[in-house]
Symmetry: C2
Subunit: 370 residues, 2 copies
Amino acid sequence: MSTQTSPHPTSAAPARATRQWRGVIEEYGDRLDIPAGTPVISLGEGGTPLVESAWLSEVTGGSVWLKVEGNNPTGSFKDRGMTVALSVAVGEGAEAVVCASTGNTSAAMAAYAAKARVKPLVLVPQGKIAAGKLAQAILHGAQVIMVRGNFDDCLRLSRGLADDYPVALVNSVNPMRLQGQKTASFEIVDVLGDAPDVHVLPTGNAGNISAYWLGYRESLSSGESRKLPVMRGWQAAGSAPLVQGAPVTDPETVASAIRIGNPASWDLAVEAARASGGRFRAVSDEQILHAQRELASSDGVFVEPASAAGVAGLLLEAAEGVRYDGQRVVVTVTGHGLKDIDTALSTFTDLVDTVCDADVDAAAAAAGLA
Amino acid sequence: MSTQTSPHPTSAAPARATRQWRGVIEEYGDRLDIPAGTPVISLGEGGTPLVESAWLSEVTGGSVWLKVEGNNPTGSFKDRGMTVALSVAVGEGAEAVVCASTGNTSAAMAAYAAKARVKPLVLVPQGKIAAGKLAQAILHGAQVIMVRGNFDDCLRLSRGLADDYPVALVNSVNPMRLQGQKTASFEIVDVLGDAPDVHVLPTGNAGNISAYWLGYRESLSSGESRKLPVMRGWQAAGSAPLVQGAPVTDPETVASAIRIGNPASWDLAVEAARASGGRFRAVSDEQILHAQRELASSDGVFVEPASAAGVAGLLLEAAEGVRYDGQRVVVTVTGHGLKDIDTALSTFTDLVDTVCDADVDAAAAAAGLA
């Protein structure tokens, strides 16, 4: 059997006792800065596919790989950080966990809290939130508390609960989140045998670019890799504080997972871009939705809108004449398209292509085969 | 670090060249009955988590493990069979692939066809199908052809296209599908070190139970395992032909992925149950939705309704007094809950639990902490 699309050595590799993935803490526990004796609360997160994109390789001239984080248990990269945050919280005796979030963070928190048998609390501003955004958190048993106030009030109350009660705050201010998220870099280095030349990813709250950069630096220090990638973050044009250099008061974009006006990990992210020789740029919602659709139909990878920002960035650069010949480029796609089917379908005008009689030749003609 | 929830050996295991999963063909190609020289069309499917369920272990007295197939690239177990079916189709020169399906099969086919750069065709009866069911197929670029006829006409036309044109039929009649799907058994044996005592799964078209049984028998023959599990299939009460022993003309259940009145793999499935000492039984839609909700909130695993049929069966048996003490039980949950958020949320009457003032002690009281 040929293995034309893979760089993996396929012969003579000594067998592990099991070839099955065991979750990021069991795989990488010795490289995580967490307290000794921490229990393992895992849903089998991480170990996500790194899939070569023939389409983007052709478009850019490079060798482009997609790190498909939607394959995580709750459908986004947040599971990597949450397995660590919940494990540490449980080890420290937390009876509940809390976050002020309406999206992928609350979904991941609630799932891992269910697994850990601690209480998940989600604080949201009263009246601002569509129930659908909280569907996963609700289904995983989160208690949703609507606060008579704004998002900053919710974050303040979350911190207060963590200070005064046996509650762990698992918003991105929790440093354990970065410890888990950095494992995505380890996996990429493991597959490629080195860090890529360039790493491209969507940037909203900016925790992920900071975590990848941490992971790549640690891989270099430990000798697993021999170089550092250039880190390029792509924001949505209506929500691009890192591009503009100042917080955005009312961020607006269809890419809800990166609709963040004042990123929590601002300084770390700016340092990652600066130190790596990278930068932040922005793409329009139209470019994001176009990239989402092209990625699904050209590569078979269906991602949520925010996840397509990095791909949209590569397409924009290609149109500007940027080439990546001879370089390896990894693009993180952060969440599964099933998270937001409606937005994805909104770009289609016709959902059914053809009607035909119940006859083979008629069907062949309809399919353009006859 | 303790690893209390895992049976894996965590020390002294020799390292593979990479610990990253490579998709089912590259991992198990030597155990698949496919033509020599078949190319590999993969999205990194398989290698899904096997997660111990503390909840179901307590309820049943056994050691119960969930095989979480929703972590596959398109969100269901169908990806295992489709990577093989598409790879073989491409190797044989197909220019298009076709299926008569409205659900997970068409989603998986279209994604792998996009990856393979062949044309995906979906044949459905005119006017019967909600666009939402086809969302993934459409997003992955499938041409949807509505046939003036019923589902049998669609299947007949699909076969006719495969006979007369360079088109591969990838419905479950394609034997390559079972070759891919059987790898789930290999993974389970790999983690547990043997086959489980009992394997429980939802049963609709009955291809999956047939594939697992094939995989377990091969694992026994090759010496990877030392026993065969009892195979127990659970159907939805309104769509239970294998329980009733006769096809059901108008199957009805909320669990759309197992809403099938005349299973394609009837004989193989009956043989799997008979030869293993297992059987088929049915659960109500209410029991299925209850199991779905409990699984999400007790174990952190969110599945689509059909996927919860096996869990519902275990709960029904437990209520009947059945015990699994001393036995290892694996339950396959076949697809991700994100496939059908609306049905899942329909069982909730209130989506927001509490409203409180922007005050820490008020929030603590609302959360039951004060």
